[in-house]
Symmetry: C2
Subunit: 202 residues, 2 copies
Amino acid sequence: MKRRGQTRSRILGCAEELMQTCGFHGFSYHHIATRLGVRNAAVHYYFPSKVDLGLALVERYRENFRFWKEQLAVRRCTAVQALESFFELEGRYREQGKVCPLGVVGVEYPGIPEPMREATRALLDEVVEWLTVTLQTGRASGDLSFAGPPGERAVSLLAALQGGLQLARIWQPSAFDRIVDELRQELGMPSGTERSALVAAG
Amino acid sequence: MKRRGQTRSRILGCAEELMQTCGFHGFSYHHIATRLGVRNAAVHYYFPSKVDLGLALVERYRENFRFWKEQLAVRRCTAVQALESFFELEGRYREQGKVCPLGVVGVEYPGIPEPMREATRALLDEVVEWLTVTLQTGRASGDLSFAGPPGERAVSLLAALQGGLQLARIWQPSAFDRIVDELRQELGMPSGTERSALVAAG
DNA sequence: GTCTATATAGAGATAGAC
DNA sequence: GTCTATCTCTATATAGAC
């Protein structure tokens, strides 16, 4: 009845949410099937093995990230705006009680199928590369200020966000927002409250 | 044959390693039993359910952390020395390919039994409290310099280390060391290379 | 305390009807 | 494309012998 793409992408959407909520080993074909109102075998039709599903998942993250990146480029965002968009992206995860997919793979690493790990490495490469260029550009234009190589700052920024999402789940959601505000300060960006004031002043 | 404490603590040691390597859902009673050369049922004798095991695990982390903390106090460590000890603690995890237990719970959160989550919250409280006091003391004595409340800096520090251990597994181990070096710089501590030079000159 | 044996449930996966 | 039915393997967990 439905076109091929329909169910397939619903499965991926569902799996994505489960992945960032419960971890890769924290959900099963049965969970997905139940949520979508189909049977176990229907999910296997699209993704014969869980490795296939996991790999498709990570590859979709990459595609989404690329699209997101391009949108920023199209809108000719400044480095500061781009970084704020990245904070928003992670902030939405926090609102939904999710963690970063890179953190999931990092924690479950030895149990993650190799094709999936490889794709994750590639995703990480792309994210770090983008963050590096963004930080570099921002510093060159005088909008950001920080010491040391942009590539190293990029990795530590990502690590703090990733860890922050996890701590927010154990502790309190606001922990994440305070971390983001600290990161802003360290980069010489307007803080969250300053930003609110700017918006209010309009 | 062996005294009660013997096997029990071997189980906990083994479970601890598996937990920080594969995650809480990434290992089973069978894994532990095989590694220790005993049977499944022997493990269940000490920890009837996996909840019991997980809870004992987190409580042992708390005990170990308290002991570690007291040792620092006994040795009258400065704030900088104390922080370096904490970096070493996490650095040993990295060397062993492990991640921080807080990260494991953070990622698998909804699937973690509630008693274990509660104990983890308490552990996190203690770690953040200790880090906060340490940062505060160091700043008051002029050995550390950073802006903002020490409590917030404590959380972001922990998040960066935790995320760093995870990224190090996906990417490259050295990513973690570079993050630590950045954290040192941000706090006005001598960097890793400066420290090496001091030791060499020493 | 540790063993053998077993119960039960869930997960990943496949065959074949519709 | 989705279903029912079923297979196999693994995981948690228990009973009872030694």
